[in-house]
Structure formats: C-alpha cells, structure tokens
C-alpha cells in the first residue's frame, strides 16, 4: 500500500514514511504509582505511510488528537518512533545522519511567539541555525538574505528587535527566516497560520507558496483546516486516530471525497450561503488513542454504519474485525474504507 502522488513534484520523493508507529505510555504520576494504577499506552501514530516529493506541498489534515502533530515531530526526529522507517532522499534516516537532516528539513510551529526565545534578538534567532551547523559565509549577510526572503525588508531594521517588538505575522516570518537561513530542502509546518490574524494568514500562505516556487522547497503542512489545504496543497492526507484514511490530489480529495470521515469533515466546513441542516455531524465517542476500536477505527462514529448502509452491503462484521488498508480507487487517490 503505497501512496505515491504525482502533485507538482519532480523527481523522487524527498521524504518517505514507512509503516511508522509512535506510542506514548501515560506518565505515571506519584499518586497513580502509589495507587498501583498501570500506565496506559496511547498509539498516537499507528502505521502511517506517506511520501512528499521534491517541490510538493502536502497537507496533513485531521482533528486535534488524531496524531498529525506527533507524526510531524516523529519526522523531525523529536519523538522516537516505536517502529517503522523514515527515509530521506532515498536513504533510511539513521542517528548519525540526523544532524545533516536537521539542516535540510526545518520546522515551523503554530505559535510564533512561543517558537522564538523571548530573550534573543531577531538576529540571534535567525543566526542560531547557522551557528549550530557552522555554515560558511558572512553571518550577517546570510541573516539579511533569509529575513529578506521571508519578506522582512529592509532586513537590517529587524536585527536588534526582540520578538515582542514585532507583530504576530512578522514573528512567523522571523521563524520562517530562521528555517530559510539553512537553505533547507523541506519545511515541516505545524499549523503555521492558525494562530495568526485572518488578514495575515493569506500573506504567510502566499509566502510559503512563493518559497516553493523560488527554491523548489517541499512542504508538509499539518493542519486541521481543510480550507487551508484546499488553498495551498498539491496533495492532501487525511488522518484519523493515528492512521491515514484517505490521501490523494487535493482537488480530487476535497471535491470528491471517498472516505466517510473526509466527507463529514468537509460537510462541516462553513460555506457562504450554506446551511447546516441536513449535514451529517459526527456522533459517538470522540477518538481516544489509548482505546482504538478494532477493525476500522472509524466504525463507531461512521455515518455509513449508523445509517445502515454498511449493513445493507454486508460489511458490518468486516468493519469490526478487519483493518481497512489504503486502496487506489482513482488515479493517485487512495482510501482506507471497506465500503469505498
């Protein structure tokens, strides 16, 4: 089950994730330990395959708690996977390659205020990566260039300012400049605009698109916002409880979704003049990665199961027992659903 996309990528994939699993054992507090409670294990990422091609923008979408942020952090080597493989530029990522990887793949966070050390000037923040990786060249020239590329002009004006002295949008540009300074091949952005004012969101997204066109950057954008995925992504991967349930070209996935979960997510998207009655709102228990249902993990909340369509097709038993795998239903459009 491979999920190769065509997108706008040229050449092979920059990043490949193969059957990745990440689990957390609940931290046992002193009280729970004394009471003899056993720790629970959360399978935050539960067998994910994903590829990002050179110059491609992939949106990883899903509700909060679906494991998309954990997946991003595991890709960055910040969380240790329980099993599975991350391949970069065709080779498996090993511990000794991590340093080089951390130059080539940069991360941008949701909250630019938190992502910048409040005690460092903007210059220091942007220069830090250069110093860590001992990049050759005039440091201030490289910092200037990165700030200008991120749309902060004239760059010198920002050198000695502290993060709290600039606006939220400018702060996110500083974070992006810090990533660009290292001339990365890929940026993993975790909800890069959801903490910004609506007016600034468009600017930052336009910046990301421009960077892809100018530098051939690959982007993996983690988001809960399918509208954003629609705006910028070449491909969309929808994640539910630690697994990718649907992946394919953005337009195809968003206009002709195959998975009932994707359909439900799209139906709650507000539209101009739209009316919310008659839409299927997800019912049932909210997803809990410590108690993943057997079979299709979506079946307790699935509108198709609730409406009885699954039973008509004779799929109820299979839904409860067999984990659906990703199948290519339309060109490059994969879905993990027994009913599709």
């Amino acid at each position: 089950m491979s999920a190769t996309g065509e997108g706008r990528g040229d050449g092979g994939p920059v990043l490949e994730v193969r059957d990745l699993h990440v689990s957390f054992s609940g931290r046992q507090g002193l009280g729970a330990g004394l009471l003899g409670r056993s720790a629970t294990t959360a399978r935050a990422v539960d067998g994910v395959d994903l590829e990002v091609a050179r110059g491609e923008i992939v949106a990883l979408a899903g509700e909060s708690g679906c494991g998309k942020t954990t997946l991003a952090r595991a890709i960055m080597g910040l969380v240790k996977p329980a099993s599975g493989e991350i391949r970069y530029a065709g080779r498996p990522l090993r511990h000794r390659d991590l340093r080089e990887f951390r130059r080539k793949v940069q991360m941008v966070f949701q909250d630019p205020t938190g992502a910048l050390n409040p005690r460092q000037t903007i210059y220091e923040s942007v220069a830090e990566g250069l110093r860590i990786h001992k990049v050759s060249g005039e440091e201030d020239v490289l910092v200037s260039k990165a700030l200008a590329d991120a749309g902060l002009r004239p760059p010198e004006r920002f050198f000695l300012l502290y993060p709290h002295e600039v606006s939220g949008g400018q702060r996110q540009r500083v974070v992006i400049a810090g990533a660009l300074a290292l001339e990365p091949e890929m940026i993993v952005a975790d909800e890069p605009v959801s903490n910004l004012d609506a007016s600034v969101r468009g600017e930052i997204l336009a910046l990301l698109l421009k960077l892809r066109d100018r530098f051939g950057l690959s982007l993996l954008i983690v988001t809960h916002d399918l509208g954003l995925a629609w705006t910028v992504a070449d491909r969309v991967a929808v994640m539910y409880l630690g697994r990718i349930v649907e992946v394919g070209p953005a337009e195809d996935v968003l206009t002709r979704p195959l998975h009932p979960y994707t359909k439900a997510l799209l139906q709650v998207l507000p539209e101009a003049g739209g009316d919310l009655s008659g839409r299927s709102i997800l019912l049932g228990e909210p997803p809990d990665p410590t108690r993943i249902p057997p079979g299709c993990r979506f079946h307790p909340r699935c509108p198709e199961v609730q409406s009885g369509r699954a039973a008509e097709l004779g799929m109820e038993e299979r839904n409860r027992t067999e984990v659906p795998l990703l199948r290519e239903i339309r060109p490059a459009h994969f879905v993990a659903c027994h009913l599709a």
Partner: protein, 325 residues
Amino acid sequence: MGARRYLTAKVVQALFTLAFVLVFNFFLFRILPGNPAQILARQRRLPVEAVRELERDFGLKDPLPQQFVNYAGDTLRANFGISFKFRRPVGEVIQGRIWPTVLLVGVATIGSTVIGLLIGIYGAWRRGSGFDMGSLGFSLVTYAMPEFWLGMILLILFASTSGLELFPLGNIRTPGGPASGIAHLLDVGRHLFLPALTLILALLGEYALIMRSSLLDVMGDDYIVTARAKGLREAQVLRRHAVPNALLPTVTLVALNLGFVVSGAITVETVFSWPGLGLLTVEALQAPDYPLLQGLFLLFSVAVIVANLIADLIYGYLDPRVRVA
C-alpha cells in the same frame, strides 16, 4: 530609551518605599506601649525629677510633628540616637554587629541559591529519575522545617557532648583563640559551618522546587523544540535557551527572599549565639531598647528595598520584555 525609563522608574519606586518606611518606623515606635524614659528609669531606679529630665532630653514632651521633624532630620544625618542598653550611638552598635550577619546571610544565600538551582535544573532535566524523586522529597522536607528546630538538631548531632563534637556550640570565634591570619579564618569557618548549613538547608528546598517547575515549564516551549529540531545538542539547549529563561522567576524569588533570610537569621543566630544583627535584635527586644530597635528595623527595611531594587534591575537585564512594560 526604554531601558533608562525602566531604571528610573524602579529607583523612584524604591525611594518612595523608603520614605514610607521612614514614616512608618516613626509611628510604629510611638504606638508601642510604655514610656522609654520610664523604662530606662525603672532599670536604674531614678527619682521622678530625673525621669522628667530624661523625657525633656529625649524630646518626648515635644509635640508629635516636632518629634517627627527631629526624627527625620536625625535619620537623614545618620544619627539614630543612643542605645539604652549599650549606652553608645545606635549606628556604632549596629556597625559592630553587622559583619557577622552579612557573612552568614551572604554565605547562606549564595550557597542555597547555587545548590538549590543546580538541584532544580538537574531534577527537571532528568525528570522522573531517582535523583528527581529523591531531591523533590528532600526539598519538600527541608522547606517545611523551621530553621531554629533544624539548627538545634544539627547542634545536638554535630556539636553537643552527646553528639559528634565536630563543631563549636556557638559564637563566631573561640574566645582567646587566634585573632588574625589563616588560623583565625579557619576558626571563623568552623564556627560559621553549622549556622550557615542550617540556613542553606532551610532555603535551598524552595529554590530547587521553583527552579525545577520553572524549567519544566520552559522546556515545553516551542523555541526549545525548535532549537532541538535545528540540531542543537541537549546540553546546549539547556544552557542557552532553557535555563536563562527559567531563571527569571527564580531570580525574583531569591532577591525577595533576602528579607526573610534576615528574619531567619534572627532565630538561627539565637540558636548558635552568632553575634550578628539577629542576636542583637533579640537583645534589643528583651531590653527593650527602642532606639536600637528603630535603627535595626530601618536597616532591615532598607535591605529588603535594596534587594527588591536589585531583583528588578536583574530582571530587566534578563528579560527584554520587561524593559518596555
């Protein structure tokens, strides 16, 4: 510039507090029961005429505003009056006893801060480890212990004849012992050890706990993750990003605590007969020696105000956000 405005604001604030303390100090001792002249007279069984004369000499018959003007003027000229008990100027008496306290409080503050912060940092870094659990329990226990009680236990264990007799029971030096040179320093060090240890133990738990929680807080911040994701080694992440930011609340606490350290020194100095300001306060209270108490109160207040000012200035230096606010 924001920095200069911040500095001026803080100094002006400190001066206002000082002025308030000055006024408060005057009325506090006017409210206290008893007439200083009578207390003085009773001790020496003076006739009534002599008491009247004393009252006149002390200016106690003057109207209150006049007394306040005299008091304020004298205080500003560093004239704090004559100690009842020691029959010498209060300034002189305090000067003779200030250095033992500075030594004790200084050593205790530096020792407890350094050890407490290190314990807190290491505990947070290795959260959940045996060291973390052990130091957490240790900090909570020492934090909860009254320092005079701890001092007495240490005395019994390490100084009394029923204990180990490793250290002297009290005082700052051996009577008739060496008065200068290395032998003198060693002698003072031996006397200093137990009272300083008591204060250090009493203080470091709090510092360790605050530093630990502050660091844990900071280590969850995105800029720490960013630094890690950029390839900064863990020890450097801690040194360059996490610890400097986690120090902010701790610095304030240490400086604010200086006032409590002085009051802690009162009990510790009493337990160890350490001839500093704490013991002097107790002696002045027992007398009662109003001019001396007044002088001591003023000094302690000034110490707290100065400590606060220093905290504000360090904070402003450490955190660029504060300078603008």
